[in-house]
């Protein structure tokens, strides 16, 4: 493989590493490794009195990462070289150079890690890489933005629906999540232990607690933006716990609640009574999945748009935010650099799918009407007529008159955590 701007030897080693397959890891593997249950796989005699169990675990994980990370980086570099459209964008080329640099640094490190000292040096290296790569998401977004301009001037394609680019971005972000989970887990294992946590995995994640925190954050953002926020009602299995990565779940729920709140406020108008957002947590003792449903009554999305909400290139938010973030003078003073880029939903779905779950949005689109005017009239009418009730044996049919509807988001999370990462075979 010939890489521009790098000597041929680098290209060769990347090509060689890319021929190896990536190892797929599950949530249970992460937990068990962190607890030292797999130590016998690496060390012949675990009665090694020189090191403690924790040190052994760290050495084992460091060794695994030293072998695994170059392979994964090489696959990413190859992908970046092959994508048809985006590889010409300057930001994408910067990302590729970044990956190659990290690859070189890893390859330069001693492949055998045996002592805690070596392991500590390796962890410093990984930490540098982790920091350096944290801007990749924004850089790729900028690359996509640059491509869009490129396309629009040339042809009349509907950019949001370009499947090839979307598949590439989907894969790229999914595997990026994978790499960051592995590195993040390793670095977290090096920290002093916290109760119930093994690295970044919490064995007693309570969806109820996480959703409550997400509600507070979302309500804060919504109030700051619009002046008011709708109420959120939670129901279902509030006492449930299962092993998961709390930061992921928080990201996903925050995204969904943000969307629901924004839709509700914008549909009904800032001064109106907001119908509450409902969150239902479902679980059973023999379940495969934990399911969380977020329903709002914010008007819904037309069915023709449902493909677009998963696109990395479509957003209904203010275009000036996009300009600020990825334009020539990026301004990161908004809530998050990604707000308004339209990335929240597809990335939330990648987080869900990474551990064997899924995220889907079902929408019921109602008719748009000038809300404040009609609602006032409706309330009067409602008060006058009350509710219409019809009786038939033991069945009651009740009827309300209203207008507009909303969206239901379903979050599926694998409960047992034994699903392997989705990686190419």
């Amino acid at each position: 493989m010939v890489l521009e701007g790098f000597p041929e030897s680098v290209g060769n080693s990347v090509a060689r590493a890319a021929t190896q397959a990536q190892t797929s890891v599950s949530l249970q593997d992460l937990m068990r490794t962190g607890q030292g249950e797999y130590l016998h796989r690496t060390f012949q005699d675990d009665l090694d009195n020189d090191h403690t169990a924790t040190e052994l675990v760290l050495i084992q994980v460091a060794g695994f990462l030293r072998r695994e990370m170059p392979v994964r980086l090489a696959h990413r570099i190859q992908d970046l070289e092959r994508v048809p459209l985006m590889k010409d964008a300057k930001s994408v080329r910067d990302v590729r150079d970044l990956y190659i640099t990290s690859f070189q640094e890893l390859e330069a490190f001693d492949p055998l890690i045996r002592t805690p000292q070596e392991e500590e040096d390796f962890s410093k290296l990984l930490e540098n890489i982790y920091e350096r790569h944290s801007k990749v998401l924004v850089q790729m977004a900028r690359g996509a933005y640059e491509c869009r301009d490129l396309i629009r001037t040339q042809k009349d394609l509907e950019f949001e629906l370009m499947e090839e680019t979307h598949n590439f971005l989907d894969r790229f972000y999914l595997y990026r999540i994978g790499m960051r989970v592995l590195i993040g887990q390793y670095l977290a294992l090096r920290q002093p232990p916290v109760e119930n946590y093994i690295g970044i995995v919490c064995s007693h994640t309570s969806p109820y607690e996480i959703v409550k925190r997400a509600i507070d954050d979302a309500a804060f953002m919504c109030t700051r933006m619009y002046g008011d926020a709708p109420e959120v009602i939670m129901s279902g299995r509030l006492d449930l716990t299962f092993p998961y990565v709390p930061t992921h779940l928080h990201y996903i729920m925050l995204e969904l609640l943000k969307n629901s709140m924004r839709a509700t406020v914008e549909w009904h108008g800032v001064d109106a009574e907001f119908p509450p957002i409902k969150v239902i947590i479902a679980d059973g003792n023999d379940n495969e999945d934990v399911v969380i449903k977020v329903s709002d009554e914010g008007g819904g999305i037309p069915r023709s748009n449902t493909k677009k909400i998963w696109s990395y290139l479509f957003t209904t938010a203010d275009p000036s935010i996009q300009e600020n973030v990825v334009g020539d003078n990026p301004d990161h003073s908004t809530d998050s650099p990604l707000a308004g880029l339209g990335y929240g939903l597809p990335i939330s779905r990648s987080y869900c799918r990474y551990f064997g779950g899924d995220l889907s949005i079902m929408s019921m689109e109602g008719e748009f009407c000038h809300v404040i005017h009609i609602r006032v009239r409706r309330i009067l009418v409602g008060a006058y007529y009350g509710w219409l009730t019809l009786s038939l044996d033991s069945t009651r049919l009740t009827r309300w008159i209203a207008s507009g509807y909303g969206t239901d988001a379903f979050v599926y999370l694998a409960r047992l955590g034994n699903t392997r990462e989705p990686l190419p075979i």
């Binding site: 479902a282 999945d289 399911v291 449902t306 799918r353 689109e365 008719e367 044996d393 069945t395 379903f410």
Partner: protein
């Protein structure tokens, strides 16, 4: 309409001569095979080069090796045009010299199906009808038009029935010969075709009424075909337990059944529409009653035919809910409360749709929801427990700019995600635990007690027929939400997306056609103005949001393409 009918006849004639020649040629080689084969379907796929005789369902002319004859054929068509008036009137079966007839009997003396004749019929190209036209003709009281409609149907229905029968009889892997119910259904269809061919071409209004009565006879028998298939499937699947289970075979059967039922919806739609739009209303009421156990809404002047332009979804839903509640109560002694939330604005209460499709889909969803709610209540202790109470079933109806959405949600415990893919299949095993449970306490379509497991896939076929969708989202341990999207057909059915605009579901019911020859299409472009859509790969176009459904449909498409190549 008449011009197109003439051209249809011309097409048939042209293809008949080429087809007959080729048939005679290969008849000689395969008589041996014919004699060897056992009683039953004549096996022909292995011996004859099918591409010579019937290249694809989409094009009436062979697309390979006979391009010179196609030029001859177009010349012949022009000749035919001049002499066709006489040809059309001649409908005698045993007049061999007439070019438009000489249809040998499809079923010969021994009771076997004559595959060559069937192929010949199946190779003719069906004509798509615009929904808007259908609706317009139903509303008008023009008897001339009605006669032309009847004549069109007289030619068109045998072609479509033949295609269905041929499709069923030529399933690969011997699916059609092993599974007797498939063969039975195909023979049933062949008998219908025979009836059509024997019935004289309607030329007066009285003949047309007779034709309508015959159509009615065909249509009134609603249950025998699905029941036969259901029973046969149960036997076929149980047999399959003996050997290693082959996913590919099940998928083929699944695809064939989807094609079959989609086309069947179309056939019945055409026929019923014609019957119900009869100005004399003879038998129309009986048909309406048979269509739905729900008391039909008043049939006004605008309600001719199946399509009702002022269908009020909330009222229809209430009717269905009452019926389902009554049945649940009869069966279990208790019934959940069915709440109907009407979220439509005042100025848009009605939309255009086919009421009995809507009834079927709603009944299916409500029946399932009621059943699981009752079962969950029983599990929690029923009337013996003080804390258990039966959860309500909630129906929300919303009308958007382009479609009406109906959501049916229950709290009956849901189903696991891994079994979700199975509930929409026709061929899932009937022995394992299913969502539909063990008792099917009767549906709106009276008497279909044997159709276990068919309700949901059929409901989805109905939904997709006009370009809508039915999606189920389950919350394991809590309940299930069903989303029914129904496109608004517009006041006169003119507001349709391009792929739905003509005889919807047509492209789904045909296997992937090959590219139509340039020289062939010129003569036939007026026949099927929307043939363009038949060139698209055969997909069930639906906005499947979940990845599993998308992957599934991709595999299906690949299998379909392979299947068509094998043909």
């Amino acid at each position: 309409m008449s011009a197109s009918t003439i051209l249809t006849a011309a097409a048939k004639t042209a293809s008949k001569t080429t087809v007959r020649r080729a048939a005679r040629r290969s008849m000689a080689t395969s008589t041996r095979a014919v004699k060897k084969s056992a009683v039953g379907v004549i096996v022909q796929a292995t011996n004859m080069p099918l591409s010579n005789i019937m290249p694809s369902f989409g094009s009436p002319l062979p697309s390979s090796g006979t391009s010179s004859s196609s030029r001859n054929n177009s010349r012949k068509e022009l000749q035919k045009l001049s002499g066709l008036a006489s040809a059309m009137s001649r409908s005698s079966l045993d007049d061999d010299t007439s070019p438009s007839s000489s249809r040998r009997s499809l079923i010969d003396e021994t009771g076997q199906v004559n595959m060559f004749e069937l192929q010949r019929l199946a190779s003719l190209s069906p004509t798509s009808l615009k929904l808007g036209d259908m609706y317009k003709y139903a509303a008008s009281a023009d008897l001339e038009q009605r006669l032309r409609n009847a004549q069109f149907l007289h030619r068109e229905l045998p072609i479509r029935l033949a295609q269905r029968a041929y499709d069923l009889l030529s399933l690969p892997h011997g699916l059609s010969s092993e599974s007797t119910p498939i063969r039975q259904v195909a023979q049933m269809y062949v008998q219908y075709i025979q009836q059509f061919l024997e019935f004289p071409f309607p030329q007066t209004n009285s003949q047309e009424e007779g034709f309508t009565e015959q159509l009615q006879g065909m249509v009134m028998d609603r249950t025998s075909i699905p029941t036969t298939i259901a029973q046969g499937l149960m036997e076929w699947l149980d047999d399959d337990r003996r050997e290693d289970f082959e996913l590919g075979r099940q998928q083929e059967m699944e695809d064939a059944l989807v094609r079959f039922f989609t086309a069947r919806v179309g056939l019945r739609f055409l026929a019923e529409h014609h019957i119900l739009s009869s100005p004399s209303q003879r038998g129309g009421d009986k048909l309406r009653e048979a269509q739905t156990a729900i008391s039909p809404s008043e049939v006004g002047a605008k309600d001719r035919g199946c399509i009702q332009h002022d269908c009020n979804p909330v009222q229809e839903c209430e009717k269905v809910a009452q019926e389902v509640a009554r049945q649940t109560y009869d069966c279990y002694g208790i019934c959940p409360e069915i709440e109907i939330v009407d979220r439509q604005s005042d100025n848009a209460q009605v939309f255009t749709y086919v009421p009995h499709h809507l009834h079927y889909m709603l009944a299916e969803l409500l029946k399932n929801s009621c059943r699981v709610s009752v079962e969950r209540y029983m599990e929690q202790g029923g009337s013996n427990s003080t804390t258990a109470k039966i959860s309500p079933v909630r129906v929300v109806i919303v009308k958007g700019a382009n479609e009406v959405t109906i959501k049916v949600s229950d709290e009956g415990g849901g189903i696991p995600r891994s079994t979700m893919a199975r509930i929409f299949k026709f061929t899932h095993s009937t022995s394992r635990q299913e969502y539909e449970g063990n008792t099917d306490f009767g549906t709106v379509e009276a008497g279909i007690k044997h159709m276990r497991g068919f309700g949901l896939p059929l409901a989805r076929i109905y939904a997709r027929y006009f370009g809508g969708e039915l999606t189920l989202k389950s919350m394991e341990g809590y309940g299930l939400d069903a989303y029914l999207y129904l496109p608004r057909l517009g006041d006169a059915c003119e507001n349709l997306p391009r792929r739905v605009i003509a005889s919807p579901g047509e492209q789904v019911s045909l296997p992937a056609p090959k590219r139509i020859n340039k020289s062939g299409t010129r003569a036939f472009s007026t026949l099927a103005p929307n043939r363009q859509s038949a060139n698209e790969p055969w997909v069930v176009e639906s906005d499947e949001l979940d990845e599993a459904g998308w992957e599934e449909s991709k595999t299906r498409r690949v299998l379909q393409i392979l299947h068509s190549r094998a043909l």
